[in-house]
């Protein structure tokens, strides 16, 4: 084999393979692309339905309900209003739509898989190496297959974000399910529970804090990825930063970064306050 022609041959083979895949699977990929794009668009449309101050107040009310403190509600509203004032409202909402869509999909896949992995530890031998690989590779890598198959646009950003957001919630769900204290499993069995009752009445309540931590971490991973996905046309703040950097529009890139930081902090607080803790249950009792 001639080593000097090897790179060219390899590239040709990859091109041919991809071409075959995109050609023969064109309909499938078009369909996936259509579904994902419309999912993000729909969410984005809903978020842009109301004027910015209504959305900001609604999210503020949610923060107040979840945390019980007016201060976190006030900070939430102020943060969102700042996003609007610096002219980033549309981008902020489309980023929010993308993050919510990707995280929701990741939870829909990650939580059931985590439950199965937690209940059947033998599956861990298969799942763990896959998760390790997913978390070891730089998130950038996931843009490549996505852009090759789905093209430039929000569907690609969604798929890459989805892949990055799966491992934390899957891992922590499996961990939570597996960590049910032995004594409580015995209690369930000795009380004559059916397998489903044992799961919903005993395993799941004990796993819930761990699962919610996983949800929070997946959400944060999704945020990180959405910014990176700016280069494949994610739309929103990621693309705003990417565009601003290319044109050396430093002021605008700082505006976008400010909006991202604000949105991340708000969602992180919301997700953490939504996590039920045992301490909270006790406080409610007093």
């Amino acid at each position: 084999m001639n080593l000097s022609t090897f790179p060219a041959n390899f590239d040709a083979a990859v091109d041919a393979g991809l071409e075959w895949l995109t050609d023969s699977g064109a309909q499938v990929f078009d369909w996936i692309n259509g579904v994902l794009t419309s999912l993000v668009d729909a969410l984005s449309w809903v978020l842009n339905l109301a004027p910015f101050y209504v959305v900001a107040l609604a999210i503020g009310a949610l923060a107040w309900r979840l945390s019980g403190h007016w201060r976190s509600a006030a900070l939430t509203v102020i943060g969102l209003l700042v996003c609007a004032l610096i002219g980033m409202w549309g981008e902020t909402m489309s980023t929010l739509a993308l993050v919510l869509a990707a995280t929701t999909l990741a939870l829909l896949v990650g939580i059931p898989c985590g439950v199965i992995g937690g209940l059947w530890p033998k599956l861990d031998g298969v799942v763990e190496p896959v998760l390790d690989l997913l978390q070891t590779l730089p998130p950038y890598i996931y843009l490549l297959p996505a852009i090759a198959l789905l093209g430039y646009g929000s569907a690609t950003a969604l798929v890459a974000t989805f892949i990055v957001a799966i491992p934390p919630v899957l891992r922590l769900t499996a961990l939570g399910i597996r960590m049910t204290p032995r004594a409580f499993i015995e209690l369930g069995e000795a009380s004559g529970t059916r397998p489903m009752q044992l799961f919903f009445k005993i395993r799941l309540p004990f796993a819930l804090p761990s699962i919610m931590t996983g949800v929070n971490q997946s959400l944060m991973m999704a945020f990180g990825m959405v910014v990176i996905a700016g280069i494949v046309g994610s739309g929103g703040l990621g693309e705003a930063i990417y565009g601003a950097i290319r044109t050396l529009d430093i002021a605008r890139s700082i505006d976008a970064a400010l909006a991202i930081v604000t949105l991340t902090l708000i969602l992180d607080r919301l997700a953490q306050n939504a996590t039920p803790s045992q301490r909270e249950a006790q406080n409610n009792a007093h």
């Binding site: 015995e186 209690l187 004559g192 059916r194 009445k201 009792a285």
Partner: protein
């Protein structure tokens, strides 16, 4: 035929030649242990198997509190888990109300567990995210009983253990003793005939433990329940148990009433255990008395008829009180109006010391 049926009715839980061995090559290990009498330690070396329970046969009768006493590692916790099949036996049969647990399918086994045989754990295992009342209603909830009905049943069992005011609290707000009462209430809600108690009071301080022991005994007796009670504390076994089984290395060494075990320990191991146990309330007149005729011959100036009398079932404590207050030389033991023996201060002192020391002296 009729007698055998009623006999089976009276035995609620029965183990027949039950083994539990952990590891591989279980059959070989059981065979080696049973046929060649190889020790537990040797089996672990030769076969790589740990013997948890070794050839145990026992019967728990209706209305009886059956204590299983052993130190940690004696297999008592494994044994109690065989009784509701939380652990499956390696060999032998476990019968609950005449049904062999091994022959039951899933629903039938769940039915036995939810309605006939309840369990209380050392760790209590109260669900932290539920109120005390919801915890106590758990068994009925599992059975699909309607909410109002199961909560009122739970309230009734909380009343029985004296915790009705704590229904809406969370388990973490309760002290250890109260939590264990809730555990007991939870098992009472399902109204099983048999209650398995897995070292429930071991983690409690001595005063609370004693209080709960008395409550448990009177509650079980008044409700007519049977109980299998696991403990590592012989005094607890003696306070609670109608019968006591002593377990060591997976084997039941001796089964009997507290008096049997204290007065006639089966071997040196049991003897060491009972050495420190107070005999005041265990030893009775009939086991310390001497022949009254021979004593009368040796003391011709004493008229036996004037001596204070006691029954053969009177324990040492009563006998000592009776003798000290009367200021006489001895007590006459009378059964059905007939003198059957005599108890002197020496007999009482020897009785307090214990039978085996008398033999040594």
């Amino acid at each position: 035929m009729k007698s055998s049926v009623s006999c089976a009715d009276d035995v609620l839980v029965s183990c027949r030649g039950v083994w539990k061995v952990f590891g591989e090559h279980i059959e070989d290990a059981i065979q080696a242990s049973r046929d060649q009498g190889i020790s537990k330690k040797q089996i672990l070396q030769d076969h790589g198997c740990v013997i948890g329970v070794s050839d145990v046969s026992l019967d728990v009768k209706r209305g009886e509190i059956f204590c299983i006493m052993g130190l940690s590692g004696s297999g008592k916790s494994t044994l109690i888990r065989l009784l509701n099949k939380l652990i499956e036996p390696s060999a032998g049969q476990v019968l609950v109300k005449g049904q062999d647990l091994a022959t039951l399918d899933g629903p039938a086994l769940r039915n036995v567990r939810s309605q006939h045989i309840g369990m209380v754990f050392q760790s209590v295992a109260l669900l932290p995210h539920r109120t005390v009342l919801e915890n106590v209603a758990f068994g009925l909830e599992v059975q699909g009983v309607a909410k109002a009905e199961r909560l009122s049943a739970a309230q009734r069992s909380l009343d029985k253990v004296g915790l009705s005011d704590w229904a809406s609290r969370y388990p973490s707000e309760l002290s250890g003793g109260m939590q264990q009462r809730v555990g007991l209430a939870r098992v009472l809600t399902c109204d099983p005939e048999i209650i398995l108690m897995d070292e429930p009071f071991s983690a409690l301080d001595p005063l609370i433990r004693r209080q709960l022991q008395d409550e448990f005994r009177s509650l079980t007796k008044s409700l007519g329940k049977s109980a299998v009670f696991i403990t590592h504390d012989l005094e607890e076994a003696i306070r609670l148990g109608d019968r006591i089984a002593i377990m060591k290395d997976g084997v039941i060494i001796q089964v009997g009433t507290a008096e049997d075990i204290v007065l006639n320990p089966a071997d040196g191991y049991v003897a060491d255990f009972v050495a420190g146990i107070s005999r005041l309330h265990l030893v009775r007149a009939h086991s310390v008395m001497a022949c009254h005729a021979a004593w009368g011959m040796r003391h011709p100036h004493i008229d036996l008829a004037t001596l204070p009398v006691a029954g053969p079932q009177a324990d040492l404590d009563e006998l000592i009180n009776c003798l000290v207050l009367s200021r006489r030389e001895a007590l006459l033991i009378v059964d059905d109006g007939q003198p059957i023996g005599i108890v002197t201060p020496t007999d009482l002192l020897r009785g307090v010391q214990g039978a085996e020391r008398e033999a040594r002296a």
